[in-house]
Subunit: 120 residues, 2 copies
């Protein structure tokens, strides 16, 4: 049985991918994959998503150089969410934070609790 | 500005919630919230989801007793994914694993890499 046979793609053909840093266990981002980009990710060892906003394949790091190298992969009980542990190069977030989750709820408002990474 | 004003619910009125254990940083599960269950979660301090399969409110632990107590909350750059760090009582997974991500990709197949928790 192939790996992908256990993956439940939704009515749009997408599955949720949670991305966690292999070293710190920080959750870096959440994105989506279709069948093709899931297979490309497995095959290439680099995270490739399907961009819902742009409606097309999205190789993470293609423009920023901030590639994500797949180290471990887990699937949840329902098969509709995947957990990837990756080696993150540079910032995962396009706003130049290591993690996209750089805002925390404090005293009923969102506070930025990370510092931006240095540009190269 | 209210917390919820930064949350981007999708066309079905849902936002993705990634749930991480506050003690171990393990990712426990991925689920979804609508506006009402997001507000109830913030207000009550217990994780309340919207079940896509059952089409209704879902207080985690209501039948199992495995409640999730909210400890920290983060929002991502786009506002369409939330990260909750929780104190997990018992198993997060209905199959009695601590995390729903109990299957890992090894040698091109899914292997169960966790042990089930003891029943009470």
């Amino acid at each position: 049985m192939a790996l992908i046979d256990s993956v439940k793609f939704d009515e749009k053909g997408l599955v949720t991918a949670v991305v966690q840093d292999i070293l710190t266990n920080e959750v870096l981002m959440v994105a989506y994959m279709n069948r093709e980009t899931f297979l490309e990710t497995i095959d290439s060892g680099r995270m490739v998503y399907f961009s819902r906003s742009r409606g097309k394949r999205w190789l993470k790091g293609e423009t920023s150089g901030h590639f994500q190298i797949v180290k471990e992969l887990y699937i949840d009980c329902d098969g509709d969410s995947m957990l990837f542990k990756v080696k993150q190069t540079g910032a995962a977030c396009h706003e130049n934070y290591f993690s996209c989750f750089f805002r925390k709820c404090e005293s009923s408002s969102w506070k930025i609790i990370r510092t931006k990474m240095e540009d190269k």
